[in-house]
C-alpha cells in the first residue's frame, strides 16, 4: 500500500467487544486531510474506544485502520506518535511533577535522536539538538498563551490550563493527525471560545487535521467540517453539521424516540 489515493485516515469495519459488551460494531469512516471531524454520541457510544484503537491501546477484533496508506494495526503503540498521530485524553494525562515546558518538550521526544552517551556527556550535538527543539516548543507556548504557566509544575495549574498544556504537548509532536478527547470538558464559556479559535487555527495555520470527541454541541457545530454520530457502537450518521442537526435518527438517539412510551425528552 502507498499513500496515493488514500485519505489521511481510513477506518473500515472496526469492531471490538469487551466480554459481552459490544463497544464497536463495524464502524467505518474516513478523515480527509485539512479537515476537522467531530465524533459525537451518547455516553458509552464507543467514541473514546475508536481513539484507543487508533492509539493501539486496544486491539480491535475485526476491521482495519489505514493511516497515510499504511496499515496502522501493524504499528507498535509507541510508533503511532512517530508516524504522525498525537492525542489528548478525556481526563488530562499529564506529567504532573514536570513543568509545562518539560511536558511540551516531551512532545518532541520522537524527533530527538540523541543517544545515552551523548546525553550523559551533554555533548555539543546533544546541546544543539536540545536548543533546536526549544524553538517550536516556545512557539506553541506563545500560540496557546501559556507563558505564565511555562515554568510551573503542571500539578499546580487550574484544570482548564492543564487541558491546554495537554493540547500543547500534542502539538509539539507536530502531528499530521490530532486526536482530541473532549477538549472542552471542564472549560468555562470564555475558554471554550478560545478553544474553538485555536482548533480552527491549528487547521488553518499549522495545517494539522483534527478529529475530536466532543459533547458540547456549540463547539461541534461551529467548527466541524464533518460530524460522525455513534450510538451503541454503530455509526448512525455522517455528514456536515447542518445535515446532522436535522437528521431524524440522530435526534432519536439523543432525544429519545418519539414513539417511545415516555415521550420525547425535553432538553431546554
Amino acid at each position: 500500500m502507498n499513500e496515493d489515493g488514500w485519505p489521511l485516515l481510513q477506518v473500515e469495519d472496526l469492531s471490538l467487544q469487551f466480554g459481552g459488551v459490544v463497544a464497536l460494531k463495524g464502524v467505518s469512516f474516513s478523515i480527509e486531510r485539512g479537515t476537522i471531524t467531530s465524533i459525537i454520541g451518547p455516553n458509552g457510544a464507543g467514541k473514546t474506544t475508536i481513539f484507543n484503537c487508533i492509539s493501539r491501546l486496544y486491539r480491535p477484533d475485526r476491521g482495519r485502520i489505514v493511516f497515510k496508506g499504511q496499515d496502522l494495526l501493524t504499528f507498535r503503540p509507541h510508533q503511532v506518535a512517530a508516524h504522525g498521530i498525537a492525542r489528548t485524553f478525556q481526563n488530562p494525562e499529564l506529567f504532573s511533577r514536570m513543568t509545562t515546558l518539560e511536558n511540551l518538550l516531551l512532545g518532541r521526544h520522537c524527533h530527538m535522536k540523541i543517544g545515552l552517551l551523548g546525553a550523559a556527556a551533554s555533548s555539543p550535538s546533544a546541546v544543539r539538538e536540545e536548543l533546536r527543539h526549544r524553538e517550536p516548543v516556545e512557539r506553541i507556548i506563545a500560540f496557546l498563551e501559556l507563558q505564565s504557566a511555562r515554568d510551573q509544575l503542571v500539578a499546580a495549574l487550574p484544570y482548564g490550563t492543564r487541558k491546554l498544556v495537554e493540547l500543547g504537548r500534542a502539538l509539539a509532536l507536530e502531528p499530521e493527525l490530532l486526536l482530541l478527547d473532549e477538549p472542552s470538558a471542564g472549560m468555562n464559556a470564555e475558554e471554550k471560545q478560545d478553544l474553538k479559535l485555536w482548533i480552527q487555527n491549528i487547521r488553518d495555520e499549522l495545517g494539522i487535521t483534527t478529529c475530536l470527541v466532543e459533547h458540547d454541541m456549540s463547539v461541534v457545530m461551529e467548527i466541524s467540517d464533518t460530524v460522525l454520530v455513534l450510538s451503541n457502537g454503530e455509526t448512525i450518521a455522517v455528514g456536515p453539521p447542518e445535515e446532522i442537526q436535522t437528521n431524524a435518527e440522530v435526534l432519536a438517539a439523543y432525544l429519545g424516540k418519539e414513539d417511545a412510551s415516555t415521550g420525547p425528552i425535553n432538553v431546554a
Partner: protein, 327 residues
C-alpha cells in the same frame, strides 16, 4: 539576551555565578581534605563517595523512573565480583575491570528490567527482591568461581604506573569517579532520556501516546541504575580488600533505598545528602551496636510522613524561607 542564549543558560548545570563559586570551593575542599584527615575518617569519606554513586544510580531508577528495586545489593555484588575476578583470574587491568563491572551489572539490570515491563509497585518489589537474594545464593554455591561463603580478596587496583595503595589514592579515585558519574547523571536527567524516565513515572499511557518506547526506556533505566551499582560495587570491593556473598544481602538494598528516601527521591542532591548522612551515622553511633538500624527505620517512617521530599525538600524550604525573609 537573545532567546537562544537564554535557553542555553537553562541547559547548563551551574547556572549562576554563586553556584560556580560554591562548586569551585567544594572542589578545593575535596582536594585538601586528605591533608587534614587520615585513616578511618578518610576511608569513611571514600566510602561515602562510593555510596553516592550507588545512591544516584538507584535514584535514577526509583526516584526518576518510578520503578522500585529491592535487589540493588545484587547489582553491587555482581559489580564487586566481576571486577575482582577479572583481575584475579584473567589479570585484566583495573580500569577495564571497573568498566566491565559496570557493564556486566548493567546487562543484569537490563534482564531484571524485562519483568518490570509487566510488574508494578509491590509486585516489582518482590521480583527484584528475589533477584537480590538469588545473587547472594548463587555466589555462595558457585564456589569454583566465587570462592563460596569464604569470599575473595580483590587486588589493589592500579592504572598504568599509578598503584592505588594508600587511603589517599583510594580517596581520589573514588571522589573523581563519583564526580564524573554525578555530572553524567545530572546531564542525563536534563536530556530527552531523563524526561522520558520521569514521563514513565508520571503517566505510562501519556508517555506511550507521545512515542516513548516503554520497553526500551524501562530496561534502560534498570541497566543504567545497575551500571552505577556495578561501578560502586567494584570500587567498594577494592577499597575494603575483601568481599563475601553476605556483604550483599537484603539489608544492603534497603540501606540504599533509605538513603534516597531520606535524602530525597528524584534528586541528585538528595542522593548525596542521604548517602553522606547514612554513611556517617554508624561512626557517630558506633557505641551502640544496633542503634543505626533503629535510626534508619525510624527516620524512614518520619521522612515519609513529614517530609516526602526528604532532606532536599527541607533544604529547598529553608532556602525559600531565607530568600523571602522577613516575610
Amino acid at each position: 539576551m537573545t532567546l537562544h542564549t537564554e535557553y542555553y543558560n537553562e541547559l547548563r548545570l551551574l547556572k549562576s555565578t554563586p553556584a560556580k563559586v560554591w562548586f569551585g570551593l567544594l572542589l578545593l575542599v575535596l582536594l585538601v581534605i586528605p591533608t587534614a584527615l587520615e585513616g578511618y575518617l578518610l576511608n569513611l569519606l571514600t566510602l561515602a563517595a562510593i555510596h553516592v554513586i550507588i545512591a544516584i544510580g538507584l535514584n535514577l531508577l526509583t526516584g526518576y523512573t518510578g520503578q522500585i528495586s529491592l535487589g540493588h545489593a545484587g547489582f553491587i555484588g555482581i559489580g564487586a565480583y566481576t571486577s575482582a575476578l577479572l583481575m584475579l583470574k584473567l589479570h585484566l587491568p583495573f580500569a577495564l575491570a571497573l568498566l566491565a563491572a559496570g557493564g556486566v551489572a548493567g546487562v543484569f539490570g537490563f534482564l531484571v528490567g524485562l519483568p518490570a515491563l509487566r510488574l508494578t509497585g509491590p509486585y516489582l518489589a518482590i521480583a527484584t527482591l528475589g533477584f537480590g537474594i538469588a545473587v547472594g545464593q548463587i555466589l555462595v554455591k558457585w564456589e569454583s568461581l566465587s570462592g563460596g561463603s569464604l569470599g575473595i580478596h580483590p587486588p589493589k587496583p592500579s592504572i598504568g604506573p599509578l598503584v592505588f595503595t594508600s587511603e589517599t589514592h583510594f580517596y581520589f579515585l573514588s571522589i573523581s569517579t563519583m564526580l564524573l558519574m554525578t555530572i553524567g547523571a545530572a546531564n542525563l536527567i536534563k536530556s530527552k532520556i531523563g524526561r522520558a524516565f520521569v514521563a514513565i513515572r508520571e503517566s505510562e499511557v501519556a508517555a506511550l501516546a507521545m512515542g516513548v518506547n516503554l520497553t526500551l526506556y524501562k530496561t534502560l533505566a534498570f541497566a543504567v541504575s545497575a551500571f552505577y551499582a556495578g561501578i560502586g560495587g567494584s570500587l567498594m570491593g577494592h577499597l575494603i580488600g575483601y568481599i563475601s556473598p553476605d556483604a550483599f544481602n537484603l539489608l544492603v538494598s534497603i540501606y540504599f533505598l533509605s538513603m534516597i528516601v531520606i535524602g530525597g527521591l528524584a534528586s541528585i542532591l538528595g542522593s548525596i545528602l542521604g548517602s553522606i548522612l547514612l554513611t556517617a551515622l554508624p561512626y557517630f553511633l558506633s557505641g551502640i551496636k544496633n542503634l543505626p538500624m533503629v535510626i534508619y527505620g525510624a527516620s524512614l517512617i518520619l521522612i515519609i510522613i513529614f517530609e516526602p521530599y526528604g532532606l532536599t525538600g527541607h533544604w529547598m524550604k529553608l532556602r525559600l524561607y531565607w530568600r523571602m525573609w522577613p516575610f
